[in-house]
């Protein structure tokens, strides 16, 4: 059979394709629907949080930080509860990372503050002596891209039924309603309101002034995102 295949490139290629496609079908398909159900307490990202997620991706934070707490005592001691599949239901793309040059950030919102992040991004050594992380000073001057964020919210709401403007159940029995704007102008207003809550805890006068002018520096969006990781 193999000799015959080697003289017939088309059937050879078909044979190779069947051999390599097999594993994907068996491993990926069966749990596909099951794995994407959200757990209680998981809500979609707000406009500013999602903009911050874009800043996180733009700067490849995932090159050095994971977002996956494995079920070991040493990890739950350090980072909090181990990760559940449903917690990632609104993560497109996933940001588990593959290398911990720095610590995991899955639940960083539980133990770091806006103030800490502000100092850390300006000068990591000021809060973590010995840190090898570079400073991310340009985040304080670049503006977050709210337009693209809004386009993404519209896309996921339409194609993947992400529950914006709907009540989603929280762990304490309450409900949360994450607002998505009806227009681009409203998206900017929503993001700006969220930004003001963040800058209330920040010290950098230039950032505060920018937000008062109606601009949103990347750092504000990033901190909103990091604070949402719980």
């Amino acid at each position: 059979m193999f000799h015959w295949l080697e003289k017939h490139p088309f059937f050879f290629a078909v044979g190779v394709f069947i051999a390599i496609a097999f594993a994907g079908l068996v491993e990926i398909l069966p749990n596909f629907a099951h794995s994407s159900r959200p757990v209680i307490g998981t809500a979609p990202y707000s406009t500013l949080e999602l903009a911050g997620r874009h800043v996180y991706i733009k700067n490849s934070c995932n090159a050095c930080h994971s977002q996956l707490v494995r079920p070991f005592k040493s990890e739950t001691d350090r980072y909090g509860h181990y990760s559940l599949s449903g917690e990632y239901a609104y993560d497109r793309p996933f940001l588990w990372g593959s290398k911990r040059t720095g610590p995991d950030l899955m639940r960083v919102g539980n133990y770091r503050t806006t103030d800490w992040h502000e100092n850390h991004m300006k000068d990591p050594k000021s809060v973590v002596p010995g840190s090898i992380m570079p400073a991310y000073t340009w985040l304080f001057t670049n503006s977050a891209d709210i337009d693209t964020t809004y386009a993404e919210q519209l896309t996921v709401a339409k194609h993947f039924s992400v529950p914006y403007n709907q009540d989603v159940p929280m762990k304490d029995g309450s409900v949360k309603n994450v607002k998505m704007a009806q227009s681009l102008a409203e998206a900017h207003e929503i993001a700006l309101e969220e930004a003001k809550l963040v800058t209330a805890d920040m010290k950098d006068q230039d950032v505060k002034d920018a937000v008062n002018r109606g601009e949103i520096p990347e750092i504000v969006a990033l901190i909103a995102y990091l604070n949402s990781l719980k």
Partner: protein, 497 residues
């Protein structure tokens, strides 16, 4: 005409040889910069404060991985295909105008896509998925380039004189199919520019932005099915194809066992794809997938070692060539590193070992003993074998080759030993508890302790880069300074003299 050997046309092979070398230098140079940035963080500002956004570690890291995978390695695969393909199929590219045009189009579009990719990654336009960072417009470009490669490959196969496909061709076909399938499925994404707001606005935001079709755990599963197997079909399959051609040619020995090559080829095809999930052990993907991935990773030793042993046994009775020919040295060391790396990987895929190894520098070490020791050595050896025949001149300097071999070998050894120690140290410190059951170390303790290993790794990488520059110089001199031979060299090895 009747008995004259075929004159092959290496126009396109030459073009891709050039990009192999140029993109190799770019990818490795960025790698060395990254390595030293971890040891000496001040280097994140290597071009000053104002350009820090573009020179810091995290922005450069995807450029390094993509330049080495899609630049250096893929160029090497294309260059060797346009050389090996003609010779084992006994047909010249010059025989078909259409194939020549397709080949040239393949090259120039590849250049355009590479330029777009470099530009977009510097700008921070990325999907964040490893080795699939490109946004959808570049993905479209990649698909077009790949289709052109396929058309040119199957076109050449279509007009072949030798009816039986040689082993190397099997591997090139598998490379084409594997990457096509993986790349398409992993990059399924919806461009956000098509969204319309309730107020009727459309075309909002960046036109190149997209959102993944998969979420969370599913996205991770598809990504590592891709990520692991992009390694398989980029770093393993075509490189095995190369050694099956170049080692017998260079040594003048016949392949040791046809049956072993059959077993390892079909074994590799079937087993490799299952193993992707070993990147996700102890994550939220289903437990049975993790176990399956772990088991198949162990099984993967068989077909991998099958090829490697077949190569080593091909040298049976001719081992003195390893001492006398630097080119044989490169290939034998490459297949040895292949064995080494394909044993190390399965060990890391055992769940209890992975619990320590995952997220640490040991994984980085594993990737690099594979890529530097196996992929890099084999591509350089292939180009060294091709150069005298393509340029019809002898290799400029055998002494440079030998020196380069030892410098780079030392570089690889420094690289993986330092990363082993770093990775296992870090893995053990993360999990260490004191007598009261509290964590023994804060995270930063596990970072500062790695400084000496990061420095050694940087030196190892630098040595490898120096060796690669010697290789580039040697090839350049081969192209330009020696007198042209009248005909293509026919002897088994131009090194033999």
């Amino acid at each position: 005409m009747e008995n004259r050997p075929l004159e092959y046309d290496y126009t396109i092979a030459k073009m891709f040889m050039l990009t192999t070398i140029v993109l190799g230098i770019v990818g490795m140079l960025i790698g060395v910069i990254l390595a030293f940035q971890l040891a000496f963080p001040g280097l994140n500002l290597i071009l000053g404060d104002s350009l820090a956004e573009y020179t810091n570690f995290s922005r450069l890291r995807p450029l390094h991985t993509d330049a080495v995978i899609f630049g250096f390695t893929l160029s090497g695969v294309f260059a060797t295909w346009y050389y090996v393909g003609q010779r084992v199929l006994k047909v010249s590219m010059a025989e078909s105008k259409l194939l020549m045009t397709l080949g040239k189009l393949h090259f120039w579009l590849y250049i355009v896509v590479v330029a777009a990719a470099v530009f977009s990654l510097f700008a921070g336009v990325t999907t964040s998925k490893e080795y699939a960072e490109f946004e959808w417009p570049i993905d479209v470009g990649v698909v077009v380039v790949w289709v052109l490669f396929g058309m040119s490959m199957f076109g050449l196969i279509g007009i072949r004189r030798e009816k039986s496909l040689y082993i190397s061709v099997w591997y090139y076909i598998a490379t084409f199919l594997g990457i096509a399938m993986l790349y398409l499925f992993n990059n399924m994404e919806i461009p956000t520019m098509f969204a319309t707001s309730p107020a009727g606005e459309s075309g909002i935001g960046a036109w190149y932005h997209s959102v993944s079709m998969y979420a969370g755990t599913n996205d991770a599963l598809v990504q590592w099915w891709y990520g692991h197997n992009a390694v398989a079909f980029g770093f393993t399959v075509p490189i095995v194809g190369m050694i099956y051609y170049f080692l017998p040619k260079e040594s003048g020995q016949a392949i040791y066992s046809y049956k072993l090559s059959l077993l390892s080829f079909w074994g590799l095809m079937f087993v490799y794809l299952w193993a992707g999930g070993h990147h996700l052990l102890y994550s939220t993907v289903p437990d049975w997938v993790q176990t399956m991935a772990s088991i198949f990773s162990i099984v993967l030793i068989l077909p991998s070692w099958g090829s490697a042993i077949n190569m080593l046994l091909t040298m049976k009775g001719e081992w003195q060539q390893v001492a006398s020919s630097p080119l044989i040295k490169f290939m034998i060391l490459a297949s040895t590193f292949y064995m080494f790396s394909t044993l190390e990987g399965p060990i890391q895929a055992i769940k209890s070992v992975n619990a320590i190894a995952h997220f640490t520098d040991w994984i980085v070490g594993h990737v690099h003993d594979g890529v530097l020791g196996w992929v890099g050595f084999m591509i350089m050896a292939s180009l060294y074998h091709m150069a005298p025949r393509v340029f019809k001149r002898e290799i400029y300097s055998k002494a440079i080759m030998t020196a380069q071999f030892w410098i780079q070998t030392l570089g690889v050894v420094l690289y993986f030993t330092s990363m082993w120690i770093a990775g296992i140290t870090q893995g053990m410190m993360w999990r260490a508890h004191d007598e009261f059951g509290n964590l023994a170390y804060s995270f930063i303790d596990t970072v500062t302790v790695l400084h000496p290993y990061y420095a050694i790794r940087g030196i190892g990488g630098l040595l490898y880069l120096v060796g690669f520059l010697m290789f580039a110089y040697n090839i350049y001199k081969t192209m330009s300074s020696r007198p042209i031979e009248e005909r293509e060299l026919q002897s088994a090895s131009p090194m033999g003299a």
